[in-house]
């Protein structure tokens, strides 16, 4: 798999068609252009063109104060807004030399895992519509509703949460939250298990997903793909386990892996990870210490010492990192986002070569890419 293989080099022969999937197509979560050179139903060459919703976020961030950047990090990808807040706050905290309070760390873990739950639910839902299984999508959205309500109860908003702060979080848990969360999560656990059983036993679903779009561990490593696609290929790579941040050290969870690296394995990893996330949240709710949820003095005007940091966390889709250089002023000197979706997006075209047109939907959706984050 080389980079050249992902570009269409010659015009189509008389037996071939150049099919433009996009920039607007029902398959896509956001605008991108996927050019396919097809012969009959078989894809001969594929090329991905991105940049349709480039927002210039990294440059914008260099012109904002540290606190002003915080709500903008939500908008990198709305399904991972909590993770983005968190990774940014960890960077600034490292620059400032402060630590979040103990309770705040647990609260951040809870919101991060809830964020992972709702992202995986929507990801699997979109995938199942793309193989023509609309019912499962609606079940997933129904389940997601409960998770989003749990997030809303903590953060006050349903999509762009803006919850983490430097040295803490925005607010504490509302009263009676634990009972509410345990009830919703218990129900969710049952539903996820039943959906997993359904998807693992449906013969049409298995025919559509088994052995399709195999991304091996080596290829994933070369392309920088992390998260569920890499774990589906059998690599036990999870930053929560490898570089424990927040309080993941104290929590018990399994790193889910599958061996095949195909579409089925990627979806299976997400399904099983949801069960682990539920387990993590239950532990957090039990173990959470009382105490302040933020630092006594919140530094509103932040002037960190000059230096550079690269915090990274396990996003729902993979490895999210932000490289921040400070020159001692109230704005970052340089800001660079290393998003997980960019890597998964560039892995897509080589996987498509040699497959059928119908597999484009299955493979693209199983990577669970996010155009907003790819373009930033």
């Amino acid at each position: 798999m080389t980079h050249e293989a992902t570009q269409i080099t010659s015009p189509p022969k008389p037996s071939e068609i150049l099919l433009h999937l996009g920039p607007q197509h029902p398959l896509q979560p956001g605008p991108f252009l996927l050019d396919l050179k097809i012969e009959g139903e078989t894809i001969r060459e594929a090329e991905l063109k991105i940049g349709y919703i480039h927002k210039g976020m990294e440059k914008v961030f260099e012109d904002r104060t540290y606190l002003q950047i915080l709500p903008l990090t939500d908008r990198i990808c709305y399904l991972a807004s909590n993770s983005n807040n968190d990774v940014y706050c960890r960077g600034v905290e490292e620059l400032l030399g402060i630590e979040p309070t103990d309770r705040a760390m647990y609260l951040r873990v809870i919101t991060n895992e809830l964020c992972r739950l709702q992202s995986h639910l929507l990801g699997i839902g979109e995938f199942t519509t793309d193989v023509g299984f609309l019912t499962m999508f609606i079940y997933m959205v129904r389940e997601r509703e409960g998770v989003v309500s749990l997030l809303e109860a903590i953060t006050g908003s349903r999509l762009n949460h803006n919850y983490a702060r430097f040295g803490g979080v925005a607010n504490d848990l509302p009263p009676g939250y634990k009972e509410m969360a345990l009830k919703t999560l218990g129900e969710l656990k049952k539903q996820v298990k039943s959906h997993d059983a359904m998807l693992s036993s449906d013969s049409i679903y298995l025919r559509r997903t088994k052995g399709v779009g195999v991304l091996t561990a080596k290829e994933a490593g070369e392309l920088g793909v992390a998260g569920p696609p890499l774990r589906a290929a059998g690599v036990e790579y999870d930053l929560r386990r490898m570089e424990p941040y927040l309080v993941y050290d104290d929590l018990d969870f399994k790193v889910i892996t599958q061996t095949d690296g195909d579409v089925f394995a990627r979806v299976k990893v997400r399904l099983l990870e949801m069960l682990e996330s539920i387990y993590i949240i239950e532990q957090c709710l039990d173990q959470m210490p009382s105490g302040p949820y933020k630092q006594d003095v919140t530094p509103y005007i932040t002037r960190p010492k000059s230096g550079e940091v690269y915090p990274r966390i396990e996003d729902p889709r993979g490895e999210m990192g932000m490289y921040i250089i400070s020159d001692g002023s109230d704005k970052p000197y340089r800001f660079r986002i290393r998003g997980p979706a960019f890597a998964t997006a560039q892995a897509l075209p080589p996987l498509l070569v040699g497959t059928y047109v119908a597999d484009v939907a299955a493979i693209a959706a199983s990577m669970d890419s996010c155009t907003s984050e790819v373009d930033r």
Binding site: P26, L27, V131, I204, D359
Partner: protein, 353 residues
């Protein structure tokens, strides 16, 4: 006066008209209009059921605003919307093919309706089928006319000069060629057992035992082939939204799209009627009702609605096959099984006779 009496009066009147002059073109015309209206209504019922029943299965509400709590007028609102939308014909389209495609699709559906019998009335020893036209080879005629629908798909796919549409048309042709054969063979098996190609006689042959019990394999093959023929999940590759946008109807808008959409439902309804008539005993009632008089037309319609519900249930429960898998199933599984079923039905049919 109960419903049964009203029905009897209507039927008596019809019988009188039939008995006096069964071949009058006026009577045929009126009856044809009624039947076409009924099947048209049936397609509307199917669209409504699809939305409401599917909504229930997917734990959502479905239409619930227009026409009260159950959204019964939603279809009319949709029709008004479709009629008032702009009618766009792409600049590069082959205009006549583009315009003709939905008309051909609907025509093929309505031509099938012509031979569908709803009941068999026996007056003074003479048999009168409640159908627009009674043919000796009506099941063969239906099979032939339903094949016309493929021209509509291909006209639309070729005429709209869109890559998605043409891919969908290719898929549809490949699928139809693969599935018309097992469908035809299972119809033959039924004909062998009934000793006739006339639907009325096929139904009459089921008065003792329904063909779904006499040849269950044939029913399964016919039903799967029918699903593929009318293009419903898991065989809706021709309009797979995530792959080909709206398939062969991608470039259509407004009422032209409405007609194409409606033609599909019409085919599904007629398909349900055929399943009812040739496998589920048609107007032969269930044994447990005893001597209670239930009009045959009631049985036909009730069974048809059950078959439609089965279509919708399958749509809710299954994902979509890939097109190469569909073709594989058609040629490698269904055709050998259909031949096996033909042998079975020949042996059983001979023993029965």
């Amino acid at each position: 006066m109960g419903i049964v009496e009203i029905y009897e009066i209507i039927m008596d009147t019809l019988v009188f008209i039939f008995a006096t002059n069964p071949f009058s073109p006026w009577i045929r015309g009126v009856l044809g209009g009624l039947v076409i209206g009924a099947v048209f209504g049936g397609a509307l019922v199917m669209v409504y059921l699809e939305r409401k029943f599917l909504g229930d299965m997917q734990s959502r509400i479905g239409p619930n605003r227009v026409g009260g709590r159950f959204g019964v007028l939603q279809l009319i609102a949709d029709a008004i919307k479709l009629f008032t939308k702009e009618d766009i014909i792409p600049a590069k389209a082959d205009k006549w093919l583009f315009i003709g495609a939905p008309i051909v699709a609907l025509t093929s559906g309505f031509l099938m309706v012509a031979v569908i019998p709803f009941d068999l009335l026996i007056i003074k020893g003479n048999e009168y089928a409640v159908a627009v036209s009674r043919m000796d080879i009506s099941i063969l005629y239906i099979e032939a006319v339903s094949g016309l629908a493929i021209f509509a798909t291909f006209m639309a796919g070729w005429g709209s000069s869109s890559k998605y549409a043409v891919l969908a048309a290719f898929r549809n042709v490949a699928k139809m060629i693969g599935y018309e054969i097992p469908m035809g063979i299972s119809i033959l098996s039924v004909a062998v057992m009934a000793y006739s190609l006339d639907i009325v006689e096929i139904v009459e042959a089921q008065s003792s035992i329904w063909f779904i019990i006499a040849q269950p394999l044939g029913f399964v093959i016919f039903f799967i082939a029918l699903l593929a023929d009318v293009g419903r999940i898991p065989f809706d590759q021709t309009e797979a939204e995530e792959e080909l946008v709206a398939g062969w109807a991608t470039e259509y808008s407004g009422m032209r799209w409405g007609l194409a959409f409606f033609a599909e439902y019409l085919h599904a309804v007629v398909g349900s009627f055929i399943v009812t008539l040739i496998f589920l005993g048609g107007w032969n009632g269930l044994p447990f009702v005893g001597n209670l008089y239930i009009p045959g037309i009631f049985w036909v319609i009730a069974k048809t609605i059950i078959v439609m519900m089965l279509f919708i249930w399958i749509r809710a429960a299954l994902p979509r096959y890939r097109i190469d898998q569909v073709i594989d199933i058609g040629w490698k599984v269904l055709i050998p099984l259909a031949l096996l079923n033909l042998v079975w039905s020949t042996i059983i049919g001979l023993m029965w006779a």
